[in-house]
């Protein structure tokens, strides 16, 4: 089309006898919708920050052997409780071990426990929640058991379970998973019960879809979003629980450095050598914060109501 025929109030005067409306000024500066990676960060800043911090921690955990300055388990009684310095970035503990190297190694334990518990409890909780949301008889039995489990604080339950076994990372994961399952099951059950009432599920029933297919095609995909969000919160909670268990000596064995037992070892010297507790605490807080930010961001991004707004 020839550009001369295109009129706009800004370019040309309207034909004589035509009443044109006055152009409206811009009230807000124009927003350029950004596509791709930048756009994603701008739309989901919390998720981006959380994801970035968490990625950093994961890299630290993976490359700990390259990043650490000495063997985190090497004892050196001669250079005990040194202040942070160019040589010992975070100082050394009562046994002369390098706190920096130990904190880096601790990231492994924390992240492995956090991720494993989140994944395991989500899968098991999803299964239990599905069964209980779909089979009425199972529901009344399962939910009473879950109510019972939920009446015990997860920390106490985990401590009790750890008391029955040997301290190992594996057992810590199992203990915390069992303590977190009731929460996921309840969430899934609630979501399943409300999804069953959704018109699209009723329409699928009317369209002759069999129950297993309804669950697979219509219920399951729509529970994944809330489950993913819940999984991040469980991950954060599990990392804190692991630290507490290790702190009170009921978790990761002392031979494996974890943020909880590094802090436990520094506890006696807290008044005089606070850095032994300080650095693992900071790392734990940042990691938990990162996971929670990621969860909040996911929740906002996955909530269709938020997306529809404006």
């Amino acid at each position: 089309m020839a550009s001369a025929t295109v009129l706009s109030p800004a370019q040309a005067a309207p034909p004589p006898g035509v009443a044109a409306a006055a152009p409206m000024p811009d009230v807000l500066p124009p927003v350029k919708p950004k596509k791709g990676f930048i756009g994603f960060i701008r739309r989901n800043p919390t998720m981006a920050i959380g994801g970035f911090l968490l990625l950093l921690m994961v890299l630290v955990a993976i490359f700990a052997p390259l990043l650490w300055t000495t063997d985190p388990t090497a004892l050196a009684p001669a250079r005990r409780t040194r202040e942070p310095s160019a040589m010992y970035w975070f100082g050394t503990d009562m046994l002369g071990r390098d706190v920096y190297s130990r904190v880096l190694y601790g990231a492994r334990v924390s992240l492995i426990v956090g991720f494993s518990v989140a994944i395991l409890s989500s899968i098991i909780g999803l299964t239990i929640g599905m069964i209980s949301g779909y089979i009425r008889l199972a529901d009344s039995i399962i939910m009473r058991i879950m109510d019972g489990l939920m009446s015990i604080p997860p920390i106490l339950l985990a401590i009790a379970l750890m008391a029955l076994t040997r301290g190992s990372v594996q057992n810590v994961i199992i203990a915390i998973t069992i303590a977190e399952i009731p929460r996921v099951s309840r969430l899934v059950r609630g979501v399943v019960l409300s999804l069953r009432e959704q018109p699209y599920v009723e329409a699928a029933v009317a369209a002759g879809t069999r129950t297993p297919m309804i669950i697979w095609r219509h219920i399951l995909p729509n529970t994944l979003a809330p489950i993913t969000v819940q999984a991040t919160y469980i991950c954060a909670a599990a990392m804190i629980t692991e630290a507490i268990l290790s702190f009170i000596g009921a978790g990761t064995p002392p031979i494996i450095p974890s943020w909880g037992n590094i802090m436990a070892e520094g506890r006696a010297l807290w008044q005089v050598k606070p850095y032994i507790v300080f650095f693992p605490a900071v790392f734990l807080s940042i990691t938990v914060l990162a996971v929670n930010l990621l969860g909040d961001g996911l929740r906002d991004a996955l909530d269709p109501r938020m997306a529809k707004r404006l």
Partner: protein
């Protein structure tokens, strides 16, 4: 001077994928004691207009520009504190959802009394007396008992009556009713519309009625503003607007509504459709906002936005081709 004068109101919202021009240059006035309806379909900006009058738009992400003069004072220039004195006192609002707009943990009496104690400094005792009086006014039986009840003990229709009682408690000069009967059943809607007509004579407040239901408009409004895609496209007294609509959008809306009683004359014609979809408000529309769906649109419409012109006394429309006879001369 009109009670409320809205001039070139623009309410825009920042969103991650562009500026949403929810309301873009709307002007109108409301005289004391008059009922003006703003009609349009979802997303036309009618609710945003009403929220903007009370400055209930969160800023950011929103931004209100233009002028909203209430008794000569520009509401957009008032401090937050001065604005609070006006809300619920001189201008009050009724919302669509009578359940969610009432606080579930306070008695009905407390909620009516709250505005009175806040704005008129009544004592608890006086406020309750006045609350009973208000409930009587809005036709709630046994007001002395109802005043001590909680919202969940009332039916939907009663709750909307309570909302009206709260809104009228301070004798406002202007009442903004945003879809006041949309959530109600037909027979209850009839009760509430009857109440609004009755109260208008007794209380004398001006009403801005926001609705999508042209039937409701015909029943209670005196003057009508039709909005489409953030713009006012037509304004007229209720009679001329329904009997002789000038803008193709208004004509389309009226044509797409089935008429009750049509089967009695046997004139069951096919409903007129307005083809297509409402345009996105995030892109600037160069010409007439309705051009993409208008059966009469020409290149001129797509390129030059029509100004609001008086097509008949007191009857304005924004259309290049709407003539004084109401026909489209293409």
């Amino acid at each position: 001077m009109a009670l409320l004068e809205v001039e070139n109101l623009q309410t825009h919202f920042r969103t991650p994928d562009g500026v949403n021009r929810a309301v873009d240059g709307v002007s109108f006035h409301v005289n004391a004691g008059e009922t003006v309806a703003i009609v349009g379909e979802s997303g036309c900006g009618k609710s945003v207009t009403s929220m903007s009058i009370l400055r209930l738009i969160p800023e950011p992400p929103g931004k209100i520009a233009g002028a909203i003069r209430f008794e000569g004072r520009d509401l957009l220039k008032l401090s937050d504190r001065e604005m609070r004195d006006i809300r619920g006192n001189e201008i009050s609002m009724i919302f669509q959802e009578p359940m969610t707009s009432l606080n579930p943990v306070l008695t009905v009496g407390r909620q009516i009394g709250e505005t009175l104690r806040l704005h008129q400094g009544l004592s608890r005792q006086q406020a309750e007396e006045k609350a009973v009086e208000m409930l009587t006014l809005v036709g709630i039986p046994e007001p002395r008992r109802r005043v001590r009840e909680y919202p969940h003990q009332l039916s939907g229709g009663m709750r909307q009556r309570v909302m009206i009682a709260i809104a009228l408690a301070c004798n406002p000069k202007l009442l903004i009713a945003d879809e006041p009967t949309t959530a109600l059943d037909v027979t209850i809607q009839a009760q509430i519309l009857e109440l609004m007509r009755d109260l208008k004579h007794r209380v004398g407040a001006a009403i801005v009625l926001i609705t999508h239901d042209l039937g409701v408009v015909a029943e209670v409004a005196e003057r009508v503003i039709v909005m489409y895609a953030g713009k006012k496209v037509e304004e007229a007294a209720v009679g001329p607007l329904f009997n002789n609509p000038k803008h193709p959008y208004t004509q389309g809306l009226l044509g797409s509504m089935p008429k009750l009683g049509s089967s009695l004359h046997g004139d069951e014609t096919r409903l007129a459709e307005i083809p297509g979809l409402v345009p996105s408000l995030k892109a600037k529309i160069p010409g007439c906002v309705f051009a993409s769906r208008c059966p009469h649109a020409t290149d001129l419409c797509r390129q030059v936005a029509p100004a609001l012109e008086e097509k008949a006394p007191g009857h304005v429309a924004a259309c290049h081709y709407a003539t004084k006879e109401g026909a489209i001369a293409a």
